[in-house]
Symmetry: C2
Subunit: 404 residues, 2 copies
């Protein structure tokens, strides 16, 4: 499994703990690190089609830290239950997947994760390898190792049980199977989001039960989306996909609040902690946070594209919004206005950027509307006549609006 880097244990721990939520148990991990042998660092993955956004990369970045220290990453694809899908047949979003689909998804995940990880220190395992072999008997024996009460302690189960919402019996088996993966893999450390903590602990317990040294657990926080409120998610639209064009990633990251910026830097930047502290001192001393944001945005663009792509994205962004220069293909619109000008919803509708006033209001409320590069949040914003505005809805719809 390669050679381990000669880093003092406390330094290694500091790197591992950076931006992490919780480490169980720190002393145990210190002992494991002190042995100077590569550790098996597990991350469980759904076998569904991956389309990673920055939220997903928080935990992958952590894996990279382990790799930098010389340890080995083991992705565990939950293909066994993935091929079953939703056995109750009620959940249409969880259709059973074929082995081919799962392999394809795993390849796609690999390709995306290797933007961050070292392929030589990464293995992909499929739990069907040992779950199939369990058989009905092995499943009973596994189920015998945990009590109903302990599984029902899991937050979401506890809430559903108290609320009288149905929990199917097989749902109790899934955390056990996930824990058994750690046994089969002899995992030394398992990573996961904070919402996975219970399941990670089951793995720890089962390993003890099977006479293994229990895995350490490192949970990572959920990254907020661009809105700074909800967790980053594709369905909420507040995400930055890692496969997006360089200019998109750059522009989206430049749109976040100054506060959220520091959070993103903590969880996503690979700059040394000392460098980040320097940035904070600069801003405290009066520097424009936008410059720090641009530095950070370029780091992220370079990670998923190239350094020259990042430079070009910054240049294009600056041209577009700071100097009022826009690409030539932006449609131009001329609107007539009374002397006091037009209100924002009128501008959006009349320029074809919104279908109705209510849609216009919604877009503004969601923070999706920018004028000359600055987001507007007040639907009463007035546009005086005699000027040309660059009005943008989301990333794709732009108009050069001249009001006269």
């Amino acid at each position: 499994m390669g050679q381990i880097r000669n880093v003092p244990v406390d330094e290694a721990l500091a790197l591992i703990k950076r931006g992490a939520e919780e480490l169980i148990v720190e002393e145990e991990l210190a002992r494991k690190l002190a042995r100077g042998k590569p550790l098996r660092v597990k991350l469980g993955l759904d076998p569904t089609a991956p389309d990673l956004h920055l939220g997903h990369t928080v935990v992958i970045n952590k894996l990279r830290h382990f790799q930098e220290l010389g340890h080995q990453v083991q992705f565990l694809i939950g293909d066994f239950t993935g091929m079953i899908g939703d056995p109750t047949g009620k959940n249409q979003t969880r259709p059973p997947l074929s082995r081919e689909q799962i392999l394809e998804n795993a390849q796609s995940y690999r390709a995306q994760a290797f933007k961050i990880l070292d392929p030589d220190k990464t293995r992909i395992l499929f739990n069907s390898e040992w779950s199939d072999k369990l058989g009905a008997e092995g499943m009973i024996r596994l189920a015998a190792r945990y009590t109903v009460a302990r599984i029902l302690e899991r937050d979401d189960f506890a809430k559903r049980y108290r609320a009288g919402q149905p929990i199917a019996v097989h749902e109790l088996l899934y955390p056990l199977m996930q824990g058994y993966d750690s046994v089969a893999m002899k995992a030394d450390v398992e990573l996961g989001g904070t919402d996975q903590k219970f399941n990670l602990l089951v793995g720890r317990e089962l390993q003890k039960d099977y006479g293994q040294e229990p895995q350490c657990i490192l949970t990572t926080p959920l990254l907020e989306g661009l809105d700074g409120v909800n967790k980053m998610s594709k369905s909420l639209g507040n995400y930055v996909g890692i496969a997006e064009p360089a200019q998109e990633i750059f522009g989206k990251l430049m749109s976040i609040s100054d506060e959220l910026m520091w959070r993103y830097i903590e969880l996503l930047s690979f700059e040394p902690i000392e460098t980040v502290r320097g940035w904070k001192r600069e801003v405290d001393a009066g520097a424009n946070p936008r410059d720090v944001k641009a530095r950070f945005a370029k780091e992220i663009v370079a990670r998923f594209h190239t350094r020259p792509d990042a430079d070009r994205a910054e240049e294009a962004f600056a041209q577009r919004f700071r100097h009022g220069q826009l690409p030539e293909d932006v449609p131009a619109v001329n609107l007539k206005a009374p002397p006091e000008g037009l209100v924002s919803t009128q501008v959006l509708r009349q320029s074809g950027l919104a279908e109705s006033s209510s849609e216009a209001n919604r877009l503004i409320a969601q923070g999706g509307v920018r004028v000359d590069g600055e987001r507007i949040s007040d639907r009463a914003t007035m546009f005086p006549p005699g000027k040309t505005y660059v009005v943008q809805v989301g990333k794709l719809k732009v108009r050069r609006v001249t009001i006269s």
Copy 2:
């Protein structure tokens, strides 16, 4: 599967319901009977070593009634879970059984049950045949068909859950597997003790889930032991084993109370209901219940031995206790007594039938002591001098005690 007897449905139902606790659902069973085809009548069995007593035969007698009507009995041996034993390893009374042991136990069960049942209308099935095939995946799919809350409704689970006593997750799987047996067997009717009702209902539900006509359920009461209080059980010592010698069975049945006798007759006798009603009228008119008891005891002895054996057992019993004649090998003891005689505990100790007064008290309290064939229940019973008594503890220890 042979031919069905041409019995009106209401007569068939009357026979089936005789002495039964509950029938779910009577209308459904009536419909099934009316089709005139042999039904598959299931009884699930533990794969442990069987040593049947009359308590076990209550439900077997019911199976015989179904056979008399032309239906087919299907014993289901739970060998699959039997071979797993207690997967928690905590229950020493449930060690895993080998396939050989299970086959041997099934053969022994067969031999005993065929004292009552017709071998031509009896099949023995082993659930490993389909449970093995389920695999880990099938187990998950099966577990998906029931909610945790519904399984925890089962009386014993509900009590343990409320009391904070541990229930291992695999225990929730067992009722589902037992129910799945009914699906695999396409059972038309399932029989069981009243304590099995929940599990029998799971089978019914699962059959509906799998698109089958649901099985009807017939529960039979638990037979009281010779003490008339606790359920008949080997560990309580209040049982009549069907493999016991003819004289033992006869003697034990003659020892039950007159009240319990009618209960035994209801659940164990094959005499027509009309005949039993005639006996009741005789006793009401002043006949000695002992004569009815002897008739019933002979029926049972003949069932498990032969009719001549029954006659001989009755004769020996009569000689021994009614006419004061005892086999020649009964030890004789002479005891000296004051004019008022000896109290029962003294008689028992001094004749070597009890080791201590407390043992003597206990034997009397348990109803295990008989004097001249009559049970004594009062430890203050006096034995005046100048007489010879036949004192009996249990079935094996007898003394001819002369007090002078």
